[in-house]
Symmetry: C2
Subunit: 283 residues, 2 copies
């Protein structure tokens, strides 16, 4: 039986004999985006190094990854170092590097993570899942560009704020606070039980907010992505292979950078993650 | 003339001869919180290392700091390393360390930053400043606990969602989406012209959302803070010493951690920064 394409992309081999906390991996053509793999899968790969590390304490609570340069096809190294372990929390430094044709090391990604032992406490979700049409009542997004392989790795069903059908510069909404809002159902294709790594990747699936906000296809690239994990491993497992509802919108677009605020619920309405990113744009 | 207390806390001495990218600093009693200085000032200190670094390219675009252990009174080291410099963006690794009484190095804080050369582009603020009463129509928060020194460093005027006056477990609002909402006017006291460092500190001034949400004074501690900077140095300078309006609210409270989403505008309504944090809570 062949590996699921997501598990294939996540594969890491410990290389601790050569360098402490180092894993070896290889980029995955099945996840290719414009100039490198889909950023969500790179974020999932470095989180997977944390999850695979023998010294890990607890489950992911926070992850920040910064995209420093495109990941090229081929081998890469991931270093995930636990720099501080407290009673119930652990702090990690993350890096993904590649050796270029000239033998020079390139920093592809930097980051930090916090893992934590979660406890039963008073809890509340103050961002209830919006009431939207169920997945089977919403058409699946069809990838129009076959060169962008990663889009076929997801079953995405936009409820609100789909990719513009015309790049004519028309505003998508009269209300600025809704003009960059997307809500979509999403799951892996083929189906795969949800876990921390796949949730991380799904936090990055929203197409650039500025494309929706302006109906103009400007060049973009995420520079920093943060995910806060609000659910434990049990709640993720309980989400199974069902759709998640994702929501994203931009808050500020200014001088070449915009931010995106996002939320991810499972179909039962549990808020699994909140996420933010800062995205470079040209023009 | 003595230094402003904020500039005094920011003071760093380059120590590059001993270790590349290293600065020496000293914790500031004027900013003391419960078990260490106010976290916002520690975040500002590590950002100040980036701002002071001779190799810096551009202005701050994104900052993430993770609070690994309390900062003790006394000397500390900040290391700010530019690990990747592109044409218009630069990626930084950040650390703050202290040597304990036994001579062991303690990781107090880890982090990353991105600086960038901003350009004139299409821009839009999709989060307009809420219409609230002006600062002179709102009473200033009085610090009730003289042992928490940092509160006196700010003139804070809560418009919505003040610190509960009774810790009786009563909910503060019938609407969960507003139950942890605070809006407040804020400026340094004494007044000090706004810059990237002071904006960073102000992103962390909101008292813990769970206190407001529950009217219960549970133990808390920020574990990770991210700030996205949407304004350039000119816009910050134009904000002068006037009040900013800050807004914060919690989205998810689950198993010992809650998140906070925040926004900071200057009095002219320019959205200067968006910010997020993940906070540990007990019970």
């Amino acid at each position: 039986m062949s590996l699921h394409p997501f598990d294939s992309a996540l594969q890491l081999t410990p290389d601790f004999g050569v360098q402490a906390d180092q894993f070896l991996g290889r980029s995955s053509p099945a996840w290719w985006n414009m100039v490198g793999p889909f950023g969500g899968v790179s974020a999932a790969v470095v989180l997977n190094a944390v999850l695979s590390h023998p010294a890990r304490l607890g489950d992911p609570a926070a992850l920040t990854v910064n995209f420093a340069s495109p990941l090229a096809q081929g081998d890469f190294k991931v270093v995930a170092t636990p720099v501080r372990t407290n009673r119930s929390t652990q702090h990690w430094l993350l890096a993904l590097r590649q050796t270029d044709a000239q033998g020079a090391e390139t920093v592809v990604l930097t980051g930090t993570a916090i893992t934590a032992v979660r406890r039963d406490t008073w809890s509340a979700n103050d961002m209830p899942m919006p009431e939207v049409a169920p997945p089977d009542a919403v058409a699946r997004l069809k990838a129009r560009d076959e060169t962008v392989a990663w889009l076929a790795r997801y079953d995405m069903r936009p409820v609100t704020g789909p990719l513009p059908s015309r790049w004519d510069g028309s505003a998508s909404s009269a209300d600025p606070q809704l003009a960059s809002l997307t809500q979509l159902w999403i799951r892996d294709d083929p189906a795969r039980p949800l876990d921390f790594a796949s949730l991380t990747a799904m936090a990055d699936v929203f197409f650039p907010r500025i494309w929706l906000r302006r109906s103009v296809l400007v060049p973009v690239g995420t520079v920093s992505l943060t995910v806060y994990f609000h659910a434990g491993a049990d709640q993720l497992a309980a989400s199974g292979t069902d759709y998640l509802l994702g929501q994203a919108r931009g808050q500020a677009f200014c001088n070449g950078f915009f931010d995106q605020a996002g939320l991810l619920w499972n179909s039962a309405g549990t808020l699994l993650a909140t996420t933010h990113q800062l995205v470079y744009y040209k023009e």
